[in-house]
Amino acid sequence: MDGDKIKAWEALCIEEQPPACAAACPLRVDARAMAEKMAAGDFVAAMAVYARAVPFPAILAHICEHPCEAVCRRAEAGGAVRIGALERALVEEAYPSIRRAAQRARKPKTIAVVGAGLAGLTAAFDLVMKGHAVTVFEADAQPLDRLHRDYLPAVLPPSAIAADVGALMKLGVDIRCRQRIDPPSLDALIAGHDAVLMAVGPGPAAAFSGTLLLNAAGRIDVDRQTRATSHPKVFAGGLHDGTEEAWSAIGSAADGRRAAGSIDRFLQGASLTASRGDERAGTCLYVNVESHTAVPPVEAADPAAGYGHAEATAEAARCFPCHCLECVRACPYLAHYNTYPKRAVREIYNNDSIVMGNRKSNRMIDSCTLCGLCTELCPNDLAMGEVCLEARQSMVERGHMPASHHDFALRDMAFSRSDEVAFARHQPGHERSAVLFFPGCQLAASAPGQVAAVYRHLTERIGGGVGFMLDCCAAPAHWSGRTALHGEAVHRIRTVWEEFGRPRLVTACSTCLKLFGEFLPDVPTSSLWTELERIGLPDGAKRPAPKGPLAIHDPCTARHAVDVQAAVRSIATSLGAEVRELGGAEKTTCCGYGGLVSFAHPEVGNAFADRRITESDDDYLAYCAMCRDNFARRGKRALHLMDLIFPDADDPAARPDPGFSGRRDNRLRLRRRLLRELWGESMSDPVPPVTLVIADAVRADIERKLLLVDDIAEVIAEAERTGRKLKDRTTGRLTASGRIGTVTTWVEYEAGAAGFVVHRIYGHRMQVEAKP
């Protein structure tokens, strides 16, 4: 796979973007994670999240201006989450749980910080946490003097200041008050320390013009991004302090953090500018706010005291939390793997790149239905199906994808394309075809009688000859990533089409229609349903109107076939059906067959089917045979549009899934019947090698294990002919096996009056042989 393409795909998924609150927080507090933990009642874990980002939790919980709330997406659904009040409740309850330990630096450095305001002390905190020795020089009598002066004790209790300053000193920061730094003492600090931070207000700055360059406003000239001054060892805070931004508590702390980040880089000899991360502003995380009902903020019973535990928990639960995951919510495949596309794309790429060793994601790559729903839902139209299909093609080409995932489906396709099934003829009595009817292998496998009936109808209404072509569009080859096999099959269809004089193709299958459009773009192809809408339905037939409303299921391959969707609805309505929508065609979901998921990962395939069939209690109306049969297999009453046009059962919605063995029989039978009845060819019916008696439960087991009744008959016939079988002395039952394709099939059976009774079947791929 192409690494650049992978990066482009990854970039489309914005799930890893920060939530708005964290993006707006100057200290990048992850309020989403904090609120999630609080909502779960775990205030200690929430405190750890808060204290990881905030140097002085007690102080800032009281006075942070919380710019996060101004951008909180909950504001659009009831009111912003009161993040500031949550933080305060957190500090009330869990402040003592904060655990902090400074790192041990390999080469500790000494740093002087001039000014014990919020900026200076935040820098001191960050640098001492990195393992450096920090001394703070403050001209006033106490650190954070401004906070004592500017905030009423009711807003910021002095005890909160004392607690945070005490914690800072316990970490080893040496705070020296009444130490005014003048220009000569600055030079001494520079000489005696590895770095110096000037975190001083506007007043004193002018005095240092001898050592540091000043700007036009008379302040120390600092670089916006790095807070570097004209002296390499000296950094300074203060941009927000009058020159560029209004003063704020949280802004001061962020100012100190930015300077400390530069000092640490400087001390390590690293670049001051490379990938800083603190430049980030804003977010493009998509949040589907409309999907949330409005909930107003929790009001504290005692506003002065703030939230109690229960109130804070309830308010925290108002955080959505912000995620995109639009695709994941709708897709049982992504949900099964508990992942989202950005991560999945990387995992798929890594799996594809492994040369030697375990490829853990093979089945994951083969479990996407390629249904395209994610693309519809994603704000950036990321197509996971394309990613998975490309990965399959890449891995198949290099022989890295286990053949076992798809060999049953490919064997079924080979059967549909074999001389036993596939054929093409001009309409009887015609030597050319204006139209070539291509029912598709699945409708032929599910409802052969209806294929014959609709073909008769087409020949009656369309002039110029309607040829018939029974074949497979080779979707299984395409979906499984077998590019060469698919190309060969498409080539054969093209050859027949040319031999038939380039007629218009009419297909009953949405998958054929889609794939022909993609791979035979010059072959004019239309859907049977738009065709029937045009030429009209067969008249005269008595058709009972369907009982009750029908919920329409569009196949995922018809997601964008707007004309087909409309034709199907109009046909069904004209036949008396009350058609109800299941969320609309554009957002239709896969029935669980797409992309061959039901072979590679039956559990995921069933999850798709089961999710779909629980969307409505109405009978379903499908117009893909595979969708209908899949729903039937999972116990949902479902009709095919053909059942409305050519009703051939009292209750067609109860028709069972024919199963894989039944599908093969139906295809064989359709070919023989048509060739005999329409083209007058003599066809001998095949004689089964043995007669089998199979109970329903055993038949379902055969289906589940992807084995075929024909193969079982072969195994028994061979065992009876050669005597190669085992006998159970107690039960008298016989056991035989045979290698068919890549699978050894085992059958436990016994001879009965009506034929051989099959008791148990199973298979394995490994071969075992006694050594001679």
Partner: protein, 70 residues
């Protein structure tokens, strides 16, 4: 090398052709070009090897999948 496939109870099974009870024999298993010895019940006369469903769907399947993802 000991068997990776355990000991199924095949004591009731006899080879119908040779009329002999099966015995645990060293046989050769192969998949995707890898070959390794295992012990499985087999007919001591004609070498018919028996794989029970428990083994086919259990340990044998695990080995198959491990080899497939290599």
């Amino acid at each position: 090398m000991s068997t990776p496939f355990g000991d199924p109870d095949a004591s009731d099974l006899v080879c119908a052709r040779c009329d002999r009870p099966l015995e645990m024999l060293k046989v050769e298993a192969s998949y995707l070009g890898q070959t390794f010895p295992v012990e499985l019940p087999a007919c001591p006369t004609c070498g018919f090897v028996y794989v029970s469903e428990e083994i086919a769907a259990g340990r044998m399947l695990k080995v198959e999948q491990a080899l497939e993802d290599k």
